[in-house]
Symmetry: D2
Subunit: 137 residues, 4 copies
């Protein structure tokens, strides 16, 4: 299991006329969180994309429990539970001040610059499996 918690402060731009964060705006927070997760094991999403790889979202799911509001400090815990194969599943737990706001997951696969599915880059697989092994010790 590989896990990493990131923080965002809710922007007024992210709220809607219900006075709470608009539901789709949780997904960029998940992005922030998975980029940090990837960085935390020594990989760089920026470098991967400069090398011509992208890791687009194939599937996204969010379940909303309690609304986030302007200026809330939100924690997004991203976790990779299963050893990634061709697909990588990342799970999210979003909380604020100890209260669960939302849970969800995204599913990803590597593509090249033309958007064609490709095998994960060797460095990605090696680093992520090393992180798994380190976690299990």
């Amino acid at each position: 299991m590989i896990t990493k918690t990131s923080e965002v402060r809710v922007r007024f731009a992210e709220t809607d006329a219900m006075g709470v964060v608009y539901h789709s705006n949780y997904l960029p927070w998940c992005e922030v969180s998975r980029i940090n997760l990837i960085s935390s094991i020594g990989l760089s999403y920026k470098k991967l994309s400069e090398e011509g790889y992208h890791l687009p979202v194939l599937e996204a799911h969010m379940r909303y429990k309690f609304p986030a509001r302007f200026d809330d400090l939100v924690e997004i815990k991203a976790t990779i539970k299963d050893r990634p194969a061709l697909r990588v599943k990342i799970e999210y737990e979003i909380t604020s001040d100890g209260r669960l706001l939302a849970t969800g997951y995204t599913m990803h696969a590597f593509v090249n610059k033309s958007g064609m599915p490709v095998k994960p880059p060797r460095e990605f697989i090696k680093t992520i499996l090393d992180a798994y092994d380190a976690d299990e010790k």
Copy 2:
């Protein structure tokens, strides 16, 4: 079954550095589509919200098949398959030029201005069940 198809033209603002529409930006299209679905049976989401009701998203799911790009004309078909009870499930099929881009659903329940769950307004239930009956004839 109640169904309605809406169109949006992809904005440059909705694309990302992969050259395609950023995944969370499909959700506002679903919103456009369900507002139109509600209007198509004679209800007004604007009027509902002025009367103190909101229909927030409890759950959202999207599966991405093929990317939308800048300037694409996108069709979003919103469907309510099951007679809505306390919860309303709306399903989406997103296509462009006959090609399936994504499928998904959102789950909703009514809340009042303070965000507390409430029964659907009587007019909503009556109108939506009438639309069902009309469809089944």
Copy 3:
């Protein structure tokens, strides 16, 4: 003078916790409007960008007079007043139901795929000057 009016319907996603449209969300409407302006004289921004040209925003200015709200039908009138040279200035008048919501402008120049400033493509200049001449007759 070249001018074109476009319409957008305000999305809930575009509102904020003040109950009105968040100020930065007027800029994508201006984008919709200038893309349509360019199309209206027979050019395609999509084709230009496929040929390796982009027309990024060098400067943007908005003055907000009256707030747009969810579900409002908004008209954005885009106008090129001066014959474009290296820079193209586009002015906007944003109204809803006859009421002035905002005015503004954006300033643009052509760049190539690497983001380096380049002369406007010959076809762009010819078409836009023809549109001017047609307007003046």
Copy 4:
């Protein structure tokens, strides 16, 4: 003069198909920066809005010099140069790694919950003038 520098990390969600940050997405960064500026002198925008005050944007201007890209660490320096009266002008200088990306300003005035212009709350004026006096000593 009251000034405060804030940092944001560029999200992939904020980029567009030119590979750089979409121009309107600089404005929420300015919002982050002015909320922090207000906090830095001991005021809370959240508290102000709970008391029924809002400080909407009357005018926004941005001049773009060099594009921000995914994962860049961006600094936004917000400055109030003139003692605020009915209107408050905030100026921004946006840099990354020492390079100037953009400059701009926003103009604000207080409104009440109904959106009607009102005098700035007494506490706001007192605190901001105290901050001025402290700066001038």
